[in-house]
């Protein structure tokens, strides 16, 4: 890989000798599978480039949504080792809060089931902000009331968040009912945009979600790498006790990180509720997505979450379209395959580090 080929060859050979045969066979098998998938996608793409572009964009925008949700999950896990099993529930709750508020603000005229209806900019932004803050506060209360005094007991904390998830799911069903609806997008946005170099159009809101995801990713990266808060978070990930021994109020950092993680779930919920729909099945779905993204990417890693979201989003959207006819309903197996592939080679995920 590095330097001249003659210098690299013996180095490569000696590295090969240290890898066990089983691992080698496994890696070869993974390489074959990846090559086969790439070849199949390329074959399909040349056959119908227009579908490829649209499906690819669907995958990218979906990946953006997945990243926003999973980044909150991975932030909380990375710092506090809390697997927030109620993350999907917070996502769902934010969607329902925003929907309720938007319906009130617009008098129930703007929203419709799966319509591409539009509302005033304020009628979208106010529900967004309120829902994010409300969900953030719920997350904060959850952390302060139940999780704070169980620090370090990973299983117990996971069980606590599961219990809260059950209660949230049941209460959501009681108060909001089970009908799937979508939020109206703001009318200040164009409905669709023309893609350059083609006569294709694409829904603008999906592009907007992708832009928000990139902004969230950059902001989080900047915060973690450049600010004092980020420095404390990074130090806290490596050694919690040492950080608090240095006189830093780690509890405050934990509380802010949990609030932020919950707000990101809420942001995802409102974006997803506008882009796709608000549904009582969202909690299971987005818990699964958060889990898969961080299992693939490596838990606690922001770059891992981005890569995991990208892989999941693309597999999700191409799987539905590019599988041979008659087999498209097996697309869920592709996601399972992705999980197996990554875990077979890297049990801690692509960017995972041992705790």
């Amino acid at each position: 890989m590095n330097g001249a080929a003659s210098a690299a060859a013996p180095d490569w050979r000696s590295r090969l000798a240290t890898v066990p045969v089983g691992q080698l066979a496994l890696r070869a098998a993974v390489a074959v599978v990846v090559a086969f998938v790439a070849a199949w996608v390329a074959y399909k793409a040349f056959g119908d480039p227009r579908t490829f572009v649209i499906v690819g964009l669907n995958g990218l925008t979906l990946a953006g949504l997945y990243f926003v949700v999973a980044s909150g999950f991975t932030l909380i896990f990375g710092l506090m080792r809390v697997v927030n099993m109620a993350h999907g529930s917070l996502y769902m709750l934010a969607g329902f809060f925003a929907l309720e508020l938007q319906t009130t603000l617009t008098g129930g005229e703007a929203t419709s089931a799966f319509g591409s209806s539009q509302a005033g900019l304020g009628d979208w932004i106010i529900p967004l902000v309120v829902a994010c803050l409300a969900v953030g506060v719920i997350g904060l209360v959850m952390q302060q009331l139940f999780l704070r005094w169980n620090q370090g007991q990973e299983l117990r904390q996971a069980l606590i968040t599961i219990a809260i998830g059950i209660i949230i799911a049941d209460q959501t069903l009681a108060h909001f009912g089970g009908i799937a609806e979508s939020l109206a997008a703001p009318d200040a946005f164009p409905e669709s945009v023309d893609l350059p170099f083609s006569n294709l159009t694409y829904p603008f809101f999906r592009i907007f979600v992708l832009m928000v995801a990139i902004a969230v990713g950059l902001a989080l990266w900047g915060m973690i790498q450049r600010t004092r808060f980020g420095m404390i978070v990074r130090a806290g990930v490596d050694d919690r006790q040492m950080v608090s021994a240095l006189g830093i109020n780690i509890q405050l950092v934990f509380a802010s990180a949990f609030f932020l993680g919950a707000v990101l779930a809420g942001l995802g919920g409102v974006l997803g509720g506008t882009m796709i729909s608000v549904d009582k099945a969202n909690d299971t779905q987005y818990l699964l997505i958060s889990l898969i993204v961080v299992i693939i990417g490596g838990m606690g890693s922001l770059a891992g979450a981005a890569l995991g979201a990208l892989a999941l989003g693309l597999v999700d959207s191409f799987g539905d379209v590019y599988l041979p006819a008659g087999y498209t309903n097996y697309s869920i197996l592709l996601i399972f395959g992705l999980l197996v592939l990554v875990l077979a080679v890297r049990p801690l995920g692509l960017f995972g580090r041992p705790a």
């Binding site: 606590i160 049941d170 009681a174 889990l291 838990m299 999980l339 875990l343």
Partner: protein
């Protein structure tokens, strides 16, 4: 420890245990057909499912949320192989179909175990949960095998007879399988294999240093857990006469976890104790106006209370009572740790990560 303390402690476990067994054996005489079928038989197979989770948690230190998916694989395989409404058109005799169902679940368990067994603690929990939810979506999507309607009117072996009008047979089958599972796991714990598993639970690195193949042991344990779970899956199909993705969704996964936690995650008996409490509560609260349809909120609150107040579950509370009285009645404090399975009350959630 003084002799009398030991005797009192034993009496606290054996007395209620024997009474429970007696009540169960005579249950068809003591309870109405409705209660026998809807509460007791249901509790027995739910208990088997929870026992597969507790076996893995208590003896191997693997808290798995994939057990419901594994029982679903057994149930769906069986239901697809016999004559039924929906599913595949194959119409086998129910007995070979049952055998193949169990084999399929064990094979799936070994495969998932092979992938997940290199992950520990909370990572393992997340991976098994992701696989479990993927299995649910798989059966929901693949209409050839199930679809969201599920497989209905499944043909059962003649010996099961009609679970509504004639519930005794299925009750005794469930009781017999429960007893067999319980005795088998208790026996297994004393074999060299079982001891090796408990060694892996306590210190994977040391076991590896001693020359044990830790991932292989964990994989085999997961396969055994799948075997136990598959019995629950088969009996649930016989009892329900149907199986659908709704039988293995996240709510069901959580139900089994709730049962295990209510009973006590580190004592095998807890599986059935928790299941009885769960099934009886379910049956009782359905009639209450205050609770009405909000059974899940009640169960979530109970679950939360148990996790927060008594991580050992009901068996943990009983252990405390037994300790208190054996100390009182013997006049001196018993030296802990007492011999026997009480040792397993030690939480293993913070099992060391591989380095």
């Amino acid at each position: 420890m003084s002799r009398s303390a030991l005797t009192v402690e034993r009496a606290f476990w054996w007395g209620p245990g024997l009474l429970l067994v007696l009540v169960l054996v005579l249950a068809p005489l003591l309870f109405t057909d409705f209660y026998l079928s809807q509460v007791i038989t249901k509790a027995l197979w739910l208990g088997i499912a929870a026992a597969s989770l507790i076996f893995l948690a208590a003896y191997v230190g693997m808290v798995s949320l994939g057990q419901v998916a594994l029982y679903g694989i057994a149930g769906f395989t069986m239901a697809n192989l016999v004559a039924a409404d929906g599913g595949s058109p194959i119409a086998w005799n129910p007995w070979p179909a049952t055998a193949v169902g169990i084999l399929a679940a064990v094979a799936a368990g070994l495969f998932i175990g092979a992938i997940a067994s290199r992950s520990y603690g909370i990572y393992f929990l997340m991976i098994t949960l992701a696989v479990g939810v993927l299995t649910y979506y798989f059966f929901g999507q693949v209409t050839q095998l199930s679809g969201f309607g599920g497989v209905n009117n499944v043909t059962r072996p003649d010996i099961v007879s009609n679970p509504v009008t004639d519930p005794q047979n299925l009750f005794y089958i469930a009781l017999g399988v429960s007893a067999a599972v319980y005795l088998f796991v208790r026996y297994l714990a004393r074999t060299p294999f079982g001891l090796a598993l408990q060694g892996v639970r306590d210190d994977p690195s040391r076991m590896r240093a001693l020359g044990y193949n830790v991932p292989l042991l964990r994989m085999l344990a997961f396969g055994l857990g799948a075997l136990i779970a598959s019995f629950a899956g088969i009996i649930s199909v016989w009892w329900n006469t149907r199986i659908s993705p709704g039988s293995i969704d996240l709510a069901r996964t959580i139900d089994v976890l709730v049962i295990a936690v209510i009973g006590g995650l580190y004592r095998l008996e807890g599986a059935w104790v928790g299941a009885f409490v769960f099934a009886a509560l379910d049956n009782w609260t359905r009639g209450l106006d205050i609770v009405g349809q909000r059974f899940n909120t009640v169960i979530g609150a109970i679950f939360l209370a148990i996790v927060l107040l008594s991580p050992g579950g009901l068996m943990g509370i009983w252990q405390t009572i037994a300790d208190f009285f054996s100390r009182r009645l013997s006049g001196r404090p018993p030296a802990r740790p007492s011999p026997g399975p009480a040792d397993e009350a030690r939480p293993t959630s913070d099992s060391p990560q591989p380095s």
